[in-house]
């Protein structure tokens, strides 16, 4: 079994307990990206990427040349005005930066399209609030069927890459939420299955040493088996044509924003169309989550 990548807030204390692991470190300030990356390398661990959780818009962040060679996942609330972005976008483009934007804000759906067309890879993230499903469908169609090949807009591109018609498509890895690929540590090295679990204090082990095969851990098995509730209760989600990709992810918002079903159904159609005519284009060598 390939051990999951460990995600934790930048901490020398946590790093000192690790050796030979693939890690993702989180920082709040873009100024700390380089130092965080250096710390990982000095401790003999392998850096997968640096996540920067910024409260500032992308236009207020100046990517540094010293980020070169560091895969960066930049979580920002919005892009800001394009006029304020153009001064730095060429550097963002040249560096290995992935921009993450919350899909619930309508302006971000436009921003994702702008970023992709300017060759900046980006990803829409989902939270408690549902997005405008129709606008998201437009964005998805643009991402996968646009006339000009642009850089990926995730999760659409990720879903397209991992989609197969005979199975469900798991795509939470794109936001570091797939426990088969990412485990989350707190400052005491306690282990959680996701960042949300970590913030909620839902730990499955006190340290990594207690974990052997994550996929056999009861907490993981229970998490992996959550889908059964939908089918056991014959819920609306279990009868939805979009289930194969959604898997009940938006069950909490389907009542007030039922557009998820149409969105995921259309997504599968578009993904199948996209994959059928995917062209072999050379893409820059960028990290992928």
């Amino acid at each position: 079994m390939v051990f999951p990548i460990l995600v934790f807030r930048d901490s020398q204390k946590v790093l000192d307990r690790l050796h030979g692991h693939r890690v993702v470190v989180r920082v709040d300030d873009p100024e700390n990206i380089v130092d965080a990356a250096s710390r990982v390398q000095r401790t003999g661990n392998q850096l997968s990427c640096v996540i920067c959780d910024s409260v500032r818009p992308l236009s207020a962040i100046t990517p540094a040349e010293s980020w070169a060679g560091i895969p960066v996942a930049l979580f920002v609330p919005e892009v800001g005005r394009l006029r304020d972005l153009t001064a730095t976008i060429h550097r963002t483009r040249d560096l290995d930066v992935h921009v993450y934007l919350p899909a619930a804000r309508p302006e971000n759906l436009v921003s994702l399209r702008i970023l992709a067309s300017l060759n900046v890879p980006s990803c829409a993230t989902f939270g408690a609030e549902p997005p405008d499903w129709e606008a998201l469908a437009d964005l998805m169609t643009y991402a996968l069927l646009g006339p000009i090949p642009h850089v990926p807009i995730d999760p659409f591109e990720y879903i397209a890459d991992h989609y197969a018609p005979d199975r469900w498509t798991q795509w939470d890895a794109v936001t570091f939420s797939d426990p088969r690929r990412y485990l989350h540590l707190d400052a005491e090295s306690r282990v959680a299955l996701s960042h949300d679990d970590l913030l909620a204090g839902a730990f499955i082990a006190d340290d990594l040493g207690a974990l052997d095969d994550i996929e056999r851990h009861p907490a993981f098995v229970e998490r992996a088996g959550r889908w059964r509730r939908f089918f056991a209760e014959c819920t609306q989600c279990s009868c939805c044509p979009g289930w194969r990709v959604c898997q009940g992810m938006f069950v909490h918002t389907v009542e007030r924003a039922p557009g998820c079903s149409a969105f995921f159904t259309e997504l599968m159609d578009v993904v199948e169309q996209h994959n059928a005519k995917r062209r072999q284009t050379r893409q820059p060598n960028r990290w992928r989550p």
């Binding site: 394009l82 006029r83 399209r113 067309s117 006339p147 000009i148």
Partner: protein, 343 residues
Amino acid sequence: MPNLLLTTRCVRSCPYCFARREIEASSSADSVSWEDLIFLADFLEASGDRHISLLGGEPTLHRDFVDFVLYLHERGFSITVFTSGVLSNACLCDLERYLRAVPPGPLSFVCNLNDPEQISAPPGETERVHEFLSVMGPWVSPGFNIHRPDFRLEFIIELVARYGLMRQLRLGIAHPVPGNPGTHVSPGMVRQAIDRLCSYRALFERFRIKPGLDCGFPLCQFSDEQLGWFHRLTGEALRFYCCPAIDIAPDMSVYSCFPLSRFHRRSIYEFDSMREVLDFYHHKNDAIRAELAGIFEECDGCIHREEGVCAGGGACHLLCRLTDEAPVRLPEIQRGLSDTRLP
């Protein structure tokens, strides 16, 4: 090189405006969205087209005008903005702060100037134009629409000198809109207008301003001497063309040019490339020319037209005749038929 109408809102009411019909028919809320702009950029890029003109109404009225220009520049497009130069202070500040960072080659403005003595402007409008020219002068070439035979150009030459504008004067000739002709230069007035233009020869040479002719000028209305002078001054062969400009409205509808905005208007989404769009409207224009060769009787059989040196004037004139005059010809046709009746 297509023209994109960012908005149909305008700040002026020029008497010769052949976009008026388009503007009046549109909602004031009509303006290009980001999604449509990106679609068009993709569409043009896929078509191998890397130039776009931004028009209106007044394109700088669009809320995202500056961002649009910067976006298109980032995409590698060269951009020409057709403006009245009547900008708000806020917009002018944004231009100064953000667009002056874009070199004059990839970004240019054509400022359509009206003679303050012949067309009265509201208070403050002329001053605003001057402020625009003072900020963006090196990016701006002046434009002028000939709409009456006694036009004046001295004020333009003065502006070029004062604000360091590009020394290329874009000269248009006011065209009729089929069904709603408005103020325009009729075929009979063209020679007078050309003579008037050439009377500025000395000023053009002194201030090294090169006049460029827009569409619809007929070759036959120039004397050989006038043609020679133009060529010597500009260093370029004059073109007497009329071909689809390709205007794209905020609602993504497309047509050949402003005067023909109601003629075979389509949606850009019906086409897969700019080539297809151009071919479509070339075909429609050719169909007009198959009925009427040119704006003069002599166009029919003119070797310069047949050899493609001159288009025979604007197709808008021809369509006006076909739409406005045909019913008038009916009695003539009936008379002709009665004359040929057998005894």
